[in-house]
Symmetry: C2
DNA sequence: TTACTTTGTTTAATCGATTAAACAATTCGG
DNA sequence: CCGAATTGTTTAATCGATTAAACAAAGTAA
């Protein structure tokens, strides 16, 4: 293992001080350095294949050009897609991304944050887990630049980028009603995460505003880390006699993916017997035999804005902003109007 | 922004030298330090909420406890799942992961490696892109600990963990033949990546060994970064009259996902009109109306072994190893035997 | 008592960069 | 021709840790 070439090596080879080499390679003191010397330094640096040790540089400059990304689970398509976008946006600004999965656990989240901060990341983007409000507050108090994505806490005045969950879910409800369904089941999460509660509330409000009430039995809530079986059980109950639902609303990609895998095995037809509408895009939306109606989150915009906010926070500590993006309801076949409704139109 | 507490701060507060603080907090010189002093140091460190600056620590110790992960695209389920496993395995050993997506481009791969190495990662795990053989060779020459995953180069004697692609594909072929299909189409990649060629070769060998020949028109190859449309076109051609195929083999999750979305829209039935077998697990395998027959790669084992090999390389530079794991053919409904065959059994 | 250990702690160099300040050699204005 | 400004480069401190080596004080053996 040949040892790495340092500034010192370059300096020695050229016969100048390390300072000069540093100035040249960083284009500082432009006018002051003799051209031939600068040229020589660049030549030698290149010849020796010199690459600055970023660790040393960071120690001195107190900048790592690294951002930490904390998500619930990088294996989840929602987060891995977002991660990719964030990676690309970060790269444009010479930043590198360190990531970690919290698994929706506050403790893991704290550990991750500690690790990231110990490594002196310049800032953090995080999809906050439940009960991490104190952690976020602490970031704020310590003056760490950060941006929340996807999830937020109303009580905290911090940078945030996400979608209008309430409104999107409201739209879903209206759409299902317009399609002629009346007995609508909800598969959501049992959680305190506001963005997920918003989805539930928005959906229910949509129904209520149009005069449709929902009984408790029509609302199923599974754990955040629910297994396929849990989701199956929920659906089973919703479809149970004597009053099976004629439509289902899934509050996330995970739920609809699990749900559709199960529904695939049932002797019922979508959309004839059951209409389906889900939050989030996923392979499921296109692969299910009945192309799905779903809420598409503008992930690209989310990632882009998250980085933009973060860089602002890092650089000039710009004003705190909360960005609520519009989500788009993509109409598929899974909510095709019932015959009774279709006739009317 | 309150400034971070340093060793010096702790030392001053306690009234000792920084050396002593360092020794205590790292449990060095165990017997030599007065208990009361050690106790006091720990107390104060805790009280001040001292956390060592890993950057400074790394500079001195030449260890970052960071590993770099280079994949083709972190948004691809195969890689994001693997990333999650690697993250967890790394964490068990106190390592953190920095990642980057090469997009299958050698140039991007080189850039990523540079960034990672400039940051002094202790080692690298990479799914090598095409034409990156020189890059790998350079890693080797520079004595950088690394492990290839998924893809390999036969000419290089380096650490590697992947599956037996040839054998798995061979099995697929045999399975399709046993199901009664004879005109089998292949959707693969136009690439020099050996692991993908192995899949093609293995599949063809499987057919040939059982006396089934394949015409050129039955083999379609799309670009590594193929779009949905490209895959659709390939399938269209394979299904075109006058000799449509009665079975399809997809060489990766990306291909089958794109393919199934398309096939979903066609007026043909799987498995009656068309049998399907694919490499890689994905949501598609369970979501498609006809549960898919596919090759399941032992991702967990891959991630575990990759980290194990890497840590060995980092710590004692253990012997180079190539690990070829068995892949499992998971039988679904998409390759249910034809009636003619079923009768026989 | 003397010399040698042992115990407990500090000093100071170091990792590899950055950068303010000092310094030396020219050039320039009046 | 002298002091000031300009040009070109070096010195040395610094970032925040680690750690070999030095040192001081106390204990111990002969």
């Amino acid at each position: 293992m040949e040892k790495r070439v340092s500034l010192k090596d370059v300096a020695k080879e050229v016969g100048v001080s390390t300072a000069l080499v540093s100035y040249v390679l960083n284009n500082k003191k432009e006018g002051r350095i003799r051209k031939e010397v600068a040229q020589k330094i660049r030549e030698v640096a290149h010849k020796l294949n010199y690459r600055p040790n970023q660790i040393a540089k960071s120690l001195k400059t107190r900048k790592t050009y690294t951002i930490g990304l904390v998500v619930a689970d990088i294996a989840n398509a929602f987060f891995s897609t977002l991660a990719r976008i964030i990676e690309d946006e970060a790269e444009k600004n010479r930043y590198t991304v360190i990531f970690g999965s919290s698994d929706e656990m506050a403790e893991r989240s704290q550990k991750l944050l500690d690790v990231l901060l110990d490594r002196q990341v310049d800032g953090v983007i995080l999809a906050a887990a439940e009960k991490t409000e104190p952690q976020i507050r602490q970031l704020q108090e310590r003056g760490i630049p950060f941006v929340l994505v996807d999830r937020y806490f109303p009580s905290l005045d911090v940078n945030y980028v996400g979608v209008k969950n309430f409104e999107a879910a409201y739209q879903c409800a209206v759409h299902l009603l317009e399609s002629g369904r009346r007995r609508i089941g909800i598969v959501g999460f049992k959680t305190t995460l506001i963005h997920l509660e918003d989805r539930k509330k928005g959906f229910l409000k949509g129904l209520k505003d149009h005069g449709v009430s929902v009984k408790k039995e029509q609302i199923k809530e599974v754990a955040l880390d629910a297994s396929k079986e849990e989701v199956e059980a929920a659906i089973q109950q919703l479809l149970a006699e004597p009053n099976p639902v004629d439509a289902l609303f899934f509050a996330s990609n995970k739920l609809s993916t699990f749900g559709l895998i199960y529904i695939n095995t049932l002797p019922l037809q979508v959309p004839e017997d059951l209409a389906i509408c889900s939050f989030d895009q996923s392979d499921a939306t296109e692969l299910f035999y009945s192309r799905l109606t779903y809420v598409r989150q503008p992930l690209h915009e989310m990632g882009r804005q998250a980085i933009e906010l973060l860089l602002q926070a890092i650089n000039d500590g710009g004003a705190v902003r909360q960005i609520h993006l519009d989500a788009e309801l993509v109409i598929g076949q899974s909510t095709t109007p019932c015959k009774s409704v279709a006739k009317k139109n």
